[in-house]
Symmetry: C2
Subunit: 407 residues, 2 copies
């Protein structure tokens, strides 16, 4: 039997999905599982998209240009430009989700062994794409006490080696919901220029900012035309994760020509998804007002509820639809599994993503979980109730187990 | 300015699309360009797919399972089983086109520097996915004189090294249209077992076999449960290239678990495309009877027409919708460019794919082109007329240029 490749073995399993078998078993027992573990919004896809798809009648479902439908790219460039991000359609390559933009970018920019500094905790799949491209992720730790702000410049400088080739940020952040300030982005700009690095900015949650906070795209930072890659996606913006449409955006011509070669190899991004995404650009502003208002209410409800539970700490995020909470447990992985295997409150339990998957090594993540507020407020209230009941129970069970010597 | 990665630099540009700027210029001059260069069929997508897409109204366009919608996988497994390829739904991972299946497979099976033997000429993008995964493609030459039959076993044996980890075939073949016989597949089976190799079988053209010839899937070869990967796609079968839906099919559990990790990193294959592909499984048999009949007529018309042109040689392919022809020119790349830049006949010219892109190094491909018969028969007749006019003209021009010393 031929062997599995080393890279295949090292590929990390999804930390967001690894508890799925326990959730399935809970459901089989009749327990309702509240999914706070995954960023699959329940918000409806805009009506303009649904209308477009219904009236679509493609005689032949053809390949598009490898860089994406030109009409869509032109309309998207106009959309960005109207948002203050001045780009032209040839500075955009449409990808199969933000995922493919990251993979193509990593393969085009980084040689095996090159180092990419990423503020931690970070989106778990960055590790996966780095593994696929042979890139070494070097974490720079942000802390819950600072609300997951950008670590100080000296922390970055301490990590720079001759192999450092880039910095990757997610803004606003998954899993933390942290939104970088202008001062923080200026600090990043200085480091990037000083060491001639690529700056990858994952901005797929750009629209979702709260409390009047302003999102600043890395593409608006002056003097970084050759350095910045913006990764985008329609998945969360229009609540259409299944369309699998993203974008690789850069003003670096040589880099665009390189990424296009990867894009040509896989021929074309999905045609249906591109047509849906093009239609989505006509989504009225009122849709976003409503959706952002809804997410803000959910955020407030969840974060306030969490902080009311004794021993739980959760900073208030300014963007995206996630938060990272510290729980009074020593092993959040075990606690999350226990919630699915042993616990229910009024027939319900909560599925969460243990934060260890968002850190490059065990450490502060051990007591933390990521929660997505993509469910209806009633469900979020139920989830808070569950957690408020579960934590003292779990502590008592653990103490009993320790006392009985069975740990 | 940060540098481009070595892998990015080595990534080959698409040989099928590299002449596009010349074609665009010809069109701008008012010349009609007959596209025999690319396998984008003009055949209509089945009506069941179009009906399904029109009645679709997804409130939320959600992610599917990373391995694909379970309903689709179950229906696809039943479809394969009915074709004599007995597999279950958990032996299938739905991918974003056959392209992604190849990439995930290469990354899961092969370490950088591992060698993959591929009968040549081969689909150009195999080189791209190999470059992306760091795999070394080792070509084994098939010849136009044998109609591109499988090279003899001794040719494979001569190429086996301690780094040889797999063999990749395309059956029926792109670019040659060659369909492997049972004896040829048995020969491959022996080599694979003797050296414990993976056998990747790209079977995306499986339905398109002519003259009563039978397609034999590698998955039906006994004793290769741990070795065979079948790569599939709906692109050509249902004339829906833009859906970007393929499949990675294997009975090797460890390999499936590894590929699933890559699939999880990119979250989900396209949801719209999966729903279209699920609907496509209800395509009536009459659709294929009609389409295969049409392709057969086109093949006969094109291949006979080509062989009537003095100096042109083109074996009759038994499958797919391509053929490789040898032309009386010493540099098919230059000739294809000249056809677009300098030539037209009655306002038309032909775009072809120079075969050099399908060989790993210059050689026999220098005088060969790949032609796709995905256009209406009237267009194919016009294309043959063009070539019959162009070849003597080109020869005369070249002779004149040589005489004038300007070459």
């Amino acid at each position: 039997m031929p062997t599995i490749a080393d890279k295949g073995r090292r590929m990390p399993p999804s930390p967001i999905r690894k508890l799925v078998p326990y959730a399935d078993a809970a459901k089989a027992r009749g327990v309702e599982v509240l999914h706070l573990n995954i960023g699959q919004p329940d918000i409806e896809t805009p009506q303009v998209v649904r209308d477009r798809m219904r009236t679509l009648d493609l005689k032949v479902v053809e390949y598009s240009h490898s860089a994406g439908l030109e009409g869509y790219r032109r309309k998207l460039a106009a959309h960005y430009t109207a948002q203050g991000i001045a780009v032209s359609h040839d500075q955009i390559i449409i990808t199969t989700g933000g995922s493919e933009a990251l993979l193509f970018g990593f393969m085009s920019c980084f040689d095996p062994g090159d180092e990419l500094i990423v503020p931690e905790p970070f989106y778990a799949n960055y590790n996966s794409f780095a593994t696929a491209a042979g890139v070494k992720v070097v974490p720079v730790r942000s802390t819950i006490d600072s609300g997951f702000a950008l670590p100080p410049v000296k922390d970055f400088e301490a990590l720079i080696t001759p192999r450092t080739k880039g910095i990757l940020i997610c803004n606003p952040g998954n899993p933390t919901g942290y939104l970088y300030s202008r001062a923080e982005l200026e600090a990043l700009r200085e480091i990037v220029l000083r060491h001639d690095l690529y700056l990858f900015s994952d901005e797929v949650y750009r629209e979702f900012c709260y409390d009047g906070a302003e999102h600043i795209s890395a593409l608006t930072l002056p003097g970084l035309e050759q350095h910045v890659v913006m990764v985008d996606s329609v998945s969360k913006r229009y609540s259409m994760c299944g369309a699998r449409i993203g974008a690789f955006v850069s003003r670096n011509k040589e880099l665009m020509a390189t990424v296009l070669k990867f894009a040509q190899a896989r021929l074309s991004p999905p045609t249906f998804g591109q047509l849906a995404s093009e239609a989505a650009l006509d989504t009225p502003a009122s849709y976003f007002t409503e959706v952002i208002g809804e997410y803000k209410q959910r955020r407030d409800l969840l974060v306030e509820g969490l902080n009311r539970i004794p021993g739980v700490k959760c900073p208030l995020p300014k963007g995206a639809f996630y938060c990272v909470a510290e729980l009074p447990v020593d092993d959040a992985d075990a606690f999350c599994q226990w919630m699915l295997e042993q616990f229910h409150h009024e027939g319900r339990t909560v599925m969460m993503a243990p934060a260890t998957g968002f850190y490059s090594e065990p450490g502060p993540g051990r007591s933390q979980v990521r929660l997505a507020y993509v469910l209806h407020k009633d469900k979020l209230r139920q989830a808070i109730d569950c957690l408020a009941q579960a934590l003292p129970q779990y502590t008592a069970v653990r103490k009993g187990a320790v006392a009985a010597g069975s740990v």
